[in-house]
Symmetry: C2
Subunit: 129 residues, 2 copies
């Protein structure tokens, strides 16, 4: 497969795939003309990366997960630990965003949104403490 085909099948931009090769997450072969040639296994890895990234895992998390994925003797506890830590981080992020949303929704609701200069949003952002 050439890069455009794995790009379409893995749902990753070609640029991103080249970047993943740069940082040694994948190591596709090369044709005589210098084009990258991707195996089914390369595609499988890229699909894995695509989904793990979509779940918000960092590249370094992905690197660790890929290594575990390829390691026949790994313990599922290792994977569960990484995923569990990530789950907690996601939940913390959700709580943060909900706090932001509540504050902002409150400010927006109070704002008349007309031509008058009085604006509770700016006042809310300006007040100290």
């Amino acid at each position: 497969m050439n890069i455009s085909e794995v790009s379409a099948r893995s749902d990753l931009p070609a640029k991103t795939i080249r970047y993943y090769e740069d940082i040694a997450l994948i190591a596709p072969g090369r044709d005589a003309n210098g084009y990258r040639r991707f195996s089914e296994e390369d595609l499988h890895k890229l699909t894995f990366l695509s989904r793990a990234r979509a779940l918000g895992f960092t590249i370094e998390d992905c690197r660790a997960l890929l290594a575990l994925w390829e390691d026949q003797s790994r313990a599922s506890a290792d994977v569960k630990r990484i995923a569990g830590e990530h789950l907690e981080a996601i939940e913390a992020k959700i709580r943060d965003l909900e706090a932001m949303r509540n504050t902002l929704a409150h400010l927006v609701a109070e704002c008349a949104g007309d031509g008058r200069p009085d604006c509770p949003i700016l006042e809310g952002l300006a007040q100290e403490g």
Copy 2:
């Protein structure tokens, strides 16, 4: 005020405050020795920036909001539009993260987390479609 005092009072690192001067969000004066001297108004702006950034507004949003804040003749509708767009973006982000959390929580719950190599988390990440 010197930088460390505004830093403490605005809850922004000194580095960040210098950066905000670099990108022309603030323009503090200078003492004879070259130290930045911050006025109450500078502090007020920094507090404003600190809170707006904590609510997830981008720097460019902040620049627009600061300009509106300083503009006596602005309409609150302008502010409401910026804040409303941002509110929608936050809500979309929360929905994304909740989807991630649900998928991941499901995978983690299925994983035995023991020494065995079978791991539903990796299988879930590997499956296509």
